[in-house]
Amino acid sequence: MQKKMAYSFPDEVLEHVFSFIQSDKDRNAVSLVCKSWYEIERWCRRKVFIGNCYAVSPRMVIRRFPEVRSIKLKGKPHFADFNLVPDGWGGYVLPWIAEMAGAYPWLEEIRLKRMVVTDESLELIAKSFKNFKVLVLFSCEGFSTDGLAAIAASCKNLRELDLRESEVDDLSGHWLAHFPETCTSLVSLNISCLRSDEVSFSALERLVGRCPNLRSLRLNRAVTLDKIANILRRAPQLVDFGTGYYAAELQPDVFSNLAGAFSSCKELKSLSGFWDVVPAYLPALYSICPRLTSLNLSYATIQSPDLIKLVSHCPRLQRLLVLDYVEDSGLEELASSCKDLQELRVFPSDPFGAEPNVSLTEQGLVAVSLGCPKLRSVLYFCRRMSNAALVTIAQNRPNLTRFRLCIIEPKTPDYLTLEPLDVGFGAIVEHCKDLSRLSLSGLLTDHVFEYIGTYGKKLEMLSVAFAGDSDLGLHHVLSGCESLRKLEIRDCPFGDKALLANAAKLETMRSLWMSSCAVSFGACKLLGQKMPKLNVEVIDETEPPDSRPESCPVDKLYIYRSVAGPRFDMPPFVWTMDEAVRILH
């Protein structure tokens, strides 16, 4: 009886039901139920997320999902952020745009992360998609303001243009003037990454003034403090605002104008920007501080007393990004003022100095972990740590989901006992049962990996540097961490044994990065031959890996699962191990 009911629903009904299912995971599950559900689902899937642009080809995506309106693609591995991936490695979006231009004329949204985007790609987007609405370029590179001008000029219904943290060849600020006077649809504009000192301010002002739905606006450094008030008065409905330069000689009329402009923004909840801050202008923010939930002061070189004053006005703060000028004293104040805090990121002001320049230690983090019951996500740079502190943090904050600790000097032991920090990180993975992201640092032996393999069952991403003693460490992680998707390792003594013993595991993950480790060329070839569903890529900028004995370790290794087979857009310094053609170049 019940079996018949499933087949008696017309497709339209199922489609309607599926339209309420938005998450990719659920959609994928739906498509596995039976052939007819697979068919119905693929025709009505509107959003696709591809975590590795080389895991699948554009044609395959288009063939399966013919009616996509929104696509999100990621390119380079995460360690590219730290200059470990040489220029020219790959991650080009043009082939995708070219295929989609023909197949998805109604595409509305493109979101890219760590991809190479050229002006040609941007011009193609501008030309091909008549109803284009959202362009997010997160940590991308390869394009200039000319490409942006094309987007501005052609996209009549553009809602979002977000260039966060991208490297843009800033040829001229006049691209903003390419937004036609008829463009009133902008909801979000983020140009904070643009470096040029000339931004067509009048064009920006007019644009902001004619977009009544503008909710998020992040300016770049070129916009000076005195101009902020003008912008804000044109957009009092803003929810998220990024200032430009926040420094000027203190002038009472400029100050009161600014304070007035901020106070007229009744919806403002999030602030960022703050390059070059003059502390005297911070009180202009006090009227909105009680509503602030997110504050990014990570470029602001202001000292602890000024930071404390500001933060103590923000009781609803959920997210804080700040430089280590905040010091332990500032974090203690944060812990007592901001009970809603969920995310804290503390960046180093002098990462390459040999001596600490500020009084920021493990104490600050311990204070926040004790005082902020909702703390879930931590990124913390410091110069010393102890197992005791980590254990305290773990016991007090079992609700942590992301914990990234960077002790600046590699292999730094517990400063109190001089022991490795195995026990401390072990406590983190043991107590924080929902931990999904972890970055390790300090002196660590294979023991820490034993803890991680035993307790890190929900761990999805792990970053390791200068840690471990032997292959056993890697083996613990690969054999124990059931949810692992991304593993990135540098400068660890992990070699062939663990990798080959856990080859099958690699097919269940998105990717594995290993650089300056001990994996031999021979092992890479073997892996490539045995595992056709993996792309095993060796990166070596100095010489071809086969010019040395097979037992020599490779410089960098990037392994990822793929149904598209080896890629063909590799530069000369990337070699792929393939079973069909020994070594493809």
Binding site: L250, S298, Q303, F347, Q363, R384, Y415
Partner: protein, 183 residues
């Protein structure tokens, strides 16, 4: 916030210390840890502490610490701006036989500046109040601003001060009376 100094590590399941280590060896200090000379556990402490000479910037490992380029560039721009354009001003003290020169950009605020001046000239700055200036010391720090006026140090925000200050003079108390906010 103080965390308990007498944590009972044995109570946690993950007690895994090196043989011979115990709670008594907890040394809580603000100084960076020096390798214990008697410690023969074989664990090498990574740092050496050389307080006397100016510490050199360490040889940089590629991609470490893990900071995004745009963030590094942003910090470096500030450093370069700070390092190349020093703000040197002459400092004189009544009764001292010769003048000194200091770079105002080196200091982050008034407390640091005063400490440096106190060390340099062997005196003590009094307690500052907006109404009365400096109380409790014979010596008062003053500066000459862009307009040529002699002002009391400490009245205006630090950034404003370092941009306006052309030279410093530490005045003997009796001469400093009558100095307050100008205009």
């Amino acid at each position: 916030m103080v965390f308990e100094k007498d944590l009972n590590l044995d109570a946690t399941e993950l007690r895994l210390g090196l043989p011979g280590s115990s709670e008594e060896s907890l040394r809580i200090s603000n100084k960076r840890a020096l390798p214990d000379m008697n410690d023969d556990s074989g664990v090498a402490a990574a740092k050496k502490c050389d307080q006397e000479t100016a510490p050199p910037t360490k040889a940089q490992v590629v991609g470490w610490p893990p900071i995004r380029s745009y963030r590094k560039n942003s910090l470096q721009t500030k450093k370069i701006e700070a390092e190349t354009s020093g703000m040197y001003v002459k400092v004189s003290m009544d009764g001292a036989p010769y003048l000194r020169k200091i770079d105002l950009k080196v200091y982050k605020g008034y407390p640091e500046l005063f400490k440096a001046l106190e060390d340099m000239f062997k005196f003590k700055v009094g307690k500052y109040s907006e109404r009365e200036g400096y109380n409790g010391s014979e010596f008062v720090p003053t500066y000459e601003d862009k307009d040529g006026d002699w002002m009391l140090v400490g009245d205006v925000p630090w950034e404003m001060f370092i941009n306006a200050c052309k030279r410093l003079r530490i005045v003997r108390g009796s001469e400093a009376r009558g100095l307050g906010c100008v205009v």
